[in-house]
Symmetry: C2
Subunit: 591 residues, 2 copies
């Protein structure tokens, strides 16, 4: 079936029910960012493989709304599919709703699969279209009717991880959560988001690529908790351990019955992380309290054990990266290297490390002009051969039992131009200003974002993505609630949060530069002006100095860089062999 | 009548109607920041003279909610009045509503004077208290019943100003406004905010201290406009001129009848700048569209004539300041100088300038530890004598026919300490980083705020107020919509906006430092990364270099400072006599 044929089939189904528009979001019943294959609906319908987007189909039009990261890729992938690229002005804003409201006639209907739409989004669509007299049909899964070989739900094993790893047992976490629920007078709490469930029950799995989560829902009351998960995934030993904390296991699909049978009291849900379908199953007599899942905020503040484990994990990741860059250095120009093969080589080096579980996201190994696509992933057709000149951008990360990593480095493969060096140095300035920021209690991500961008703005340069995202502990590499970008998000930065700082400069058709470290928020000085926080850099991998124009850095930035590269040598040294250490020491020479 | 007696009287009136709480905001029927004497209700009731606050009176408690700027002052002024200081955590947030909701019983009522409460605030109070079963009585002016000699409304003359001053005639402004009203399908527009009315009709007056506005309402339809104003204030010539543009004059109080008699169509109001009482007069069949007054956004973008006039005004203001600081320099230690007398001297120098109308706010002439109170105003009892040592902070501004000024300088009167110099230099660094910022289209105030604060944060210092505020053109010295502070306000900075940049450091009991310039947003480079904007510094008065620790500034900051002081000499030079110029050249020596 071609994409055109699929589109025709969808339109036939729409027509049979008199539906004027059908919406297909990039989501799953847990409102995830990374999706199990069963919910890769946009890829099935249109061939577009980006991690964010929405398809909207009307009788005569069909569009993909996605953001700047994917304009080039979407243009290519949508060719001949019947879908048109509709560029989003702002990332994450459902601009198609506005578009739809201008197209639909009174008494028409819009359909979507309520499993793939958050409560927030569904209500927003409803509120926007209702005044125009448009009806919502929130329970139509037209794809399912044409998706013959649709993948089933993954059945990978789940496993509990030890308190020595997580720093906090299930009992304590449940106690904290229940206290927060009591504070808002909630008797029940439905959790749909997979990372919240993984954190709360110290459970991990591999149901979603790159995210060590398991497909599950959880329903928590003040004396019981139930995880709705394929029971075959959980060992009897783990089941026993969970039961010790009054945590029961039920079938994944039983969440429907469980939600429907709550007949009184107050239930707490996160409207951004709960699908509309489950929400509609809540008995109307039940009082619903909406807010950010309390676990999202608890999870964001890493405890001392998580922090210490993350520090150890950074050494492992740094060793793997050092070995990789040494290998690249020695093979650059000597053997045939391709984007895909070097990414595989990096994976090999990481896999040698104890506790390594897998990649935390698809490696971006981008040579030359591919670096200008911030979310580039080499395909067989794009797979470039590395030559001994130009820039190589590597954005990658690992999932380890002891933590999640995410790092970007750019290295020169030879003959760097002045433009490349200038841009590299400016990005480095921004990165250093970000990671060395001191900031008062109460500071929000947008303030750190501005400080990081300043050296780029000063030189009339900028980047079209955020400066940083929260990172989980052996969990999702994108984790809220904090984010460092220019949006007016009021989440305050708190000690214990781990966030990336990753400014960049992208020259379409030429090269891309991004330098990324993970930082931990820590307490700093307190005085008459209040409490100040700072960042501790966690990531440990040398920063290439051959691309630096020293005169563009101020002395504090030079000092930071030299100290950092020295620290990398010190921390990694004893885990490297002599040759590796010698090579790293040379690379880490002070400038 | 003592404040205690007034409080008792209010409570008697409350009791007679079974009212459990009475709210007295700092406002007037135009939701102004600066108030005509008739509406200085808080001062009348409690003696507190700060520019922001709310009194809330219950049967047994009475409190003043105000922000950090006024904690010291309020503590002193409320002594023995029966009112307790309730420190606000965040400026401008009605935290007393939360407090009240915890105190009031079901079926009790809360009263206030609906003329002094915006639509927004009234609805917020109502929405918060309704679920608790508390009723609102929005039309109680208890103060009026006990305020025997309450001032009448001011009757100062109003006058039209010429298009050669404003750059745009009434006709064009009305056309622009009407187009924006058409865009939102509004047939009528009620304007209550005095600066919006002054801007739209090119009318000025002196009904409010420091703000050249006239007490008026305006009702605009697509073919007519009416200003509701005491007709005696407007000359016949001006009335004729207004009539030429189909603008009629009616009595101030006739706005009530005019609003009530609109019987169909859609009316646009700004819920933050319209009082609840007028809003309630709108016929319920009328469709109300709410939004920021379109004139607020139009007014914020200064046109080329306003900008050129402001530049000329800055020369006048700079000449006055240069003469003042020369006079201070020569008299420091020679004659008895007091905070009040030097402020008067400054006023004399400004008054010599052509087009000067008055102060744009109460001068803050703060010697030594008084400088640590950001909103200090010398009173007869606090009026400090200046000694030839320590710091002198001067924050002042003028209203001129050709623009509004606002400038803060700190000078050393002798024997500055290292601490003073360090803090001064850090504040200067922040100010320079702010005014030299380059920023992409779309940047918001919170980003400029962060950039300005960074040098202070880097050194564990901070200030408890915003970095800057919009400034009117021969209008209010505080003008929206843009503001440079850390709040998540999404107003974008646009070319043509005039804003202050004024970081500070305050050492309670010791000294205060603040350095403030006004800047104009201008277009800068456009390239593949987008459109960039920058600031042009408008303020022209030398910055004292004797307090600078040069090694704390980087070379770019030193260059900016030297260029700026040089520019001040160049621009002011030909307006100064020989002695003055000689003195200024010495002060402006490069460091």
């Amino acid at each position: 079936m071609t994409y055109q044929e699929k589109l025709q089939s969808i339109r036939r189904l729409m027509k049979s029910e008199n539906v004027s528009a059908y919406i297909i979001p990039s989501s799953d019943p847990h409102i995830s960012e990374y999706l199990p294959d069963r919910f890769k609906c946009i890829e099935f319908a249109s061939g577009f493989t980006g991690s964010a987007g929405t398809l909207v189909i009307t009788e005569v039009e069909a569009g993909l709304w996605t953001d700047g990261r994917y304009f080039v890729q979407a243009t290519e992938q949508l060719e001949g599919t019947g879908y048109e690229l509709m560029p989003l002005k702002a990332q994450g804003v459902p601009e198609y709703v506005e578009w739809l409201s201008g197209k639909l006639l009174k008494d028409s209907s819009v359909a979507f699969d309520g499993r793939l739409v958050s409560v927030n989004l569904a209500e927003m669509i409803e509120n926007r279209l209702r005044p125009a007299g448009v009806k919502i049909l929130p329970d139509r899964d037209y794809l399912n009717e044409i998706w013959k070989d649709r993948p089933i739900l993954p059945s990978n094993p789940a496993y509990l991880i030890d308190e020595s790893v997580t720093g906090e047992g299930i009992k304590q976490k449940l106690e904290k959560l229940r206290q927060l629920l009591r504070d808002v007078h909630a008797d029940y709490h439905l959790i749909s988001s997979l990372d919240d469930i993984a954190w709360l029950f110290n459970i991990r799995g591999s149901d979603v690529k790159c995210n060590p989560v398991v497909l599950a829902f959880a329903l928590i009351s003040h004396d019981h908790a139930t995880i709705f998960i394929d029971p075959a995934k959980v060992s009897n030993e783990n089941k026993g351990e969970l039961l010790n904390h009054n945590v029961m296991i039920k079938e994944y699909h039983e969440i429907d019955a469980a939600i429907s049978t709550v007949k009184n009291g107050t239930i707490f849900i996160d409207p951004k992380r709960t699908c509309f379908r489950l929400f509609k199953l809540i008995n109307p007599v039940i009082n619903v309290v909406q807010g950010v899942n309390p676990t999202t905020n608890l999870k964001a503040i890493k405890n001392p054990v998580e922090i210490e484990n993350t520090r150890k994990t950074m050494i492992k990741d740094g060793v793997a990266l050092t070995r990789f860059f040494k290998w690249l250095d020695e093979n650059n120009g000597q053997t045939d290297l391709y984007e895909i093969s070097v990414a595989e080589k990096l994976l090999d080096f990481r896999a040698e490390q104890e506790g390594f579980v897998g990649e935390s996201f698809d490696t971006i190994a981008a040579y030359s002009d591919h670096g200008a696509l911030p979310h580039y992933k080499a395909s067989l057709s794009s797979n470039a051969k590395l030559n001994p000149n130009g820039l190589f951008l590597l954005d990658s990360g690992g999932q380890y039992i002891g933590g999640t990593t995410d790092i970007t480095r750019v290295v020169s493969l030879g003959n760097a131009t002045m433009d490349e060096k200038t841009d590299y140095t400016l990005v480095l300035k921004g990165m250093i200003d970000g990671v060395t920021a001191r900031y008062p209690k109460g500071t929000r991500g947008y303030q750190i974002d501005a400080i990081t961008r300043k050296p780029l703005w000063d030189n009339s340069r900028n980047y079209g993505h955020g400066t940083g995202h929260g990172v989980g502990f052996f969990l999702n590499v994108h984790e809220g609630p904090q984010v460092f970008n220019s949006a007016n998000i009021t989440v305050e930065i708190e000690p214990g949060m781990i966030t990336s700082i990753e400014p960049g400069i992208y020259r379409i058709g030429k090269y891309g530069i991004r330098i990324e470290n993970l930082v931990l928020s820590v307490k700093d000085e307190s005085n008459e002006f209040g409490e100040f926080y700072a960042f501790e850099t966690l990531t440990l991998a040398y920063i290439d100095t051959s691309l630096i124009i020293r005169s563009l850095l101020d002395q504090k930035q030079v000092d930071w860089l030299n100290n950092y590269n020295q620290l990398v040598v010190e921390r990694l040294g004893k885990h490297l062999d002599n040759e590796e250490l010698k090579w790293l020491i040379k690379k880490a020479q002070p400038i």
